[in-house]
């Protein structure tokens, strides 16, 4: 599996020697950094891990679309335009139940309002051009945020971020259409592929926590926020958890005397 290291954090040089160094840097040193094809290649390698999570979910989404009595192209339309995995699963049920459009809008708002927080750290300033910025915000899914804010992405030019988003978008749309067309062929007894998403966030969380070095309170605060939200606001877990976590971080920042941070 030689393509995978770029999708992990293990390929970055670190002071701790526990991790083997990179087999190769993301870019061949002879190429200028703005070289298009190499940016696409590097973005592709970084996208593979997330794609592995997307494809089974997209297949499941597409299969569910046709099982619910919607046409196959609707899966592609939703995947391409809405591009918000968890909400799209909800959308199937709302559309088949002919829910009012206002209810669709409100649900989309509540499920996706977490994206508001991503503007705090997503490196949109590195993406150049109006069209590029437009697409970068349009395709700003959880996984794109996770990968583009990871430590390995700190040197990424905007072009590579855009390529990464494009690949994620492509995986989702293509696998949704494939799932809608092939859904009836998946044996009914095979379940549990959706764990790929859980596994992916597990990996991203482990890597992100490791990037914080010894900042243990941050993941602990996040975990407590999520558990509190699970208990107190189970219907709005994500929104409540993000709000609690942000408040907790702010409180911590204000009470720890604003020591200069190396971040």
């Amino acid at each position: 599996m030689h393509i995978s290291p770029a999708a992990t954090t293990g390929d970055r040089p670190r002071p701790a020697p526990a991790v083997p160094p990179a087999p190769s840097p993301a870019l061949p040193p002879v190429l200028p950094p703005s070289s298009g094809p190499s940016e696409a290649r590097a973005a592709f390698r970084a996208s593979v891990g997330a794609g592995l999570g997307f494809v089974p979910l997209g297949l499941a989404f597409g299969a569910l679309v046709t099982q619910s009595g919607l046409d196959w192209w609707w899966a592609g339309l939703s995947a391409t335009l809405a591009f918000g995995g968890s909400f799209e699963f909800l959308l199937i049920g709302m559309v088949t139940a002919a829910a009012p459009l206002a209810a669709v809008a409100l649900s989309a708002f509540m499920v996706n309002v977490r994206h508001v927080f991503y503007a705090l750290s997503f490196p949109l300033h590195r993406v150049t051009g109006r069209l590029g910025k437009t697409y970068a915000t349009f395709a700003l899914c959880d996984e794109a945020y996770a990968l583009a804010t990871g430590k390995q992405a700190r040197s990424w030019p905007g072009r590579r971020i855009l390529w990464l988003q494009f690949f994620l978008h492509l995986y989702w749309a293509a696998s949704s259409v494939a799932g809608a067309l092939l859904g009836s062929l998946i044996p009914a007894g095979v379940t549990g592929l959706d764990f790929a998403l859980t596994a992916m966030f597990t990996v991203l969380a482990l890597d992100a926590v490791r990037d914080l070095r010894d900042d243990l309170p941050t993941p602990v605060l996040a975990l407590l926020s999520a558990l509190a939200a699970r208990l107190l606001f189970p219907g709005q877990l994500l929104l409540a958890a993000f709000a609690l976590f942000t408040a907790a971080l702010l409180a911590r920042h204000l009470t720890t005397g604003r020591k200069p941070s190396h971040a």
Partner: protein, 109 residues
């Protein structure tokens, strides 16, 4: 298939709301980027957001049922593989395969 125009309109509404949530905050928050507090938040948010999304994925874990063993074991495999090899693809594949095998063959509900 419900009315086609309605089904398309529902997607367009969802897309417009989602895009708005993703794009508009940049306009509002960009002036704040130089602030110390925002920098503090933005360096720590990615890790916290991932932890929260992970809990969200596991929110319906049936803790008191035997079939909770499948996701729990798959999670352990994912974490173990990742701490051991640091290979995202391997960790995701191993965890997912564990879950599919357990959920499809052992803990069928």
């Amino acid at each position: 298939m419900p009315d086609t125009r309605y089904a398309v309109a529902a997607v367009l509404v969802a897309a417009a709301v989602t895009w708005g949530l993703r794009a508009l905050p940049f306009a509002a928050l960009t002036p704040l980027r130089a602030s110390r507090t925002v920098q503090y938040l933005s360096t720590r948010m990615p890790a916290g957001v991932m932890v929260i999304l992970l809990v969200y994925c596991l929110r319906d874990l049936p803790l008191t049922h035997a079939r909770a063993v499948a996701p729990a074991a798959a999670l352990a495999v994912t974490v173990g593989l990742h701490l051991w090899r640091r290979n995202a693809l391997l960790s995701i594949l191993g965890g997912t395969a564990t879950h599919v095998i357990l959920a499809s063959a052992v803990f069928t509900s």
